[in-house]
Amino acid sequence: MRVTINGSPREVPDGTTVAQAVRILTSATTGVAVAVNDEVVTRGSWDTTALGDSDRVEVLTAVQGG
């Protein structure tokens, strides 16, 4: 299936979880937050939340600013 991770389209296997999507970008699990289709997925749910076709995944962290 096709999902979007941080704005880039990606082909991922069916059943890919949020945790697996995050690991494509980083091995970090702290200091990182995820939204799928503009809803926050809490860290405790990453392993049990499966992505669906055309989901938009945003993986954010803190950067210099403000």
Partner: protein
């Protein structure tokens, strides 16, 4: 100097720092150390796998509390989502709420800001909204449950100082929550003036991070905030039109 208290939490420094504009994390680290700050803002952005080092490591190393902001948001909806992501990523329910109206001025949008503030307060956040120097809006945000108000001195990054000291005084007079002068500070005298006007704290970034010597300017800001606070507490003499002799006029 007396403590700054925001939402029941004490800070012995009244200088809140931003992290934007620093040429490197090393320069930022030195500037933060020189500033003596205990509370510092960060922005939330898409994770960049190629990025090396993290601003969070710098703050953690200095024992500085992190204050996530919603910089870059143009709508209440974006700001609420960003605040929730920051809470999840950073484990804090504090947020500097920043909803800007346009990229040219970066002025805060009062309607979207108020809408987001109400939603975030209801969701259990400690909300510190960045606003124009508008006493009416400051009062409404306090009534809505915000933990502080953060009026601007001048547009972000402009270094123009405090363009409307009268309005800042009006906000201070009416406020029951801390007033934090945010944005527009260019040099130390601007920060001192903010404190002399009665602000409880000053938030600045660019004035330090883009100074030729960030660590030196950070030390200057630290001293200015302290001096301004003391002067405010001391109570300045009235301004007079003519001289008033301080020595006896008779021989």
């Amino acid at each position: 100097m007396d403590d700054l208290i925001i939402a029941g939490e004490k800070f012995s420094s009244r200088l809140i720092m931003g992290t934007g504009g620093a040429p490197s994390l090393e320069v930022l680290d030195q500037a933060l150390a020189a500033s003596g700050t205990e509370l510092t803002t960060v922005a939330m952005r898409r994770l960049d796998p190629s990025a090396r080092g993290s601003v969070l490591d710098v703050l953690r190393g200095r024992g500085i509390k992190v204050l996530p902001n919603t910089a870059g948001c143009f709508t209440a909806g974006e700001a609420v989502l960003t605040a929730r992501l920051a809470r999840e990523a950073l484990g804090t329910n504090w947020v500097k709420l920043e909803v800007i109206a346009d990229e040219r001025t970066l002025l805060p949008d009062p309607i979207e800001t108020f809408d987001a503030a109400e939603r975030l307060v209801a969701d259990g956040f400690v909300v510190l909204p960045y606003i124009g120097d508008d006493p009416a809006l400051a009062r409404r945000l306090e009534q809505a449950g915000c933990a502080a108000v953060m009026p601007l001195g001048a547009p972000i990054g402009s270094g123009l100082g405090i363009r409307n000291p009268h309005n800042i005084e009006l906000i201070v007079e009416a406020a029951g929550v801390p007033v934090i002068l945010d944005a527009g500070i260019g040099t130390a005298s601007d920060a001192a003036l903010a404190m002399e006007l009665g602000c409880d704290a000053v938030l600045l970034a660019t004035a330090v991070t883009r100074a030729q010597r960030p660590d030196l300017m950070a030390a200057a800001m630290r001293g200015a905030v302290q001096a301004g606070r003391l002067a405010r507490q001391a109570g300045r003499i009235p301004r007079r039109r003519y001289a008033e002799a301080s020595s006896p006029m008779t021989p």
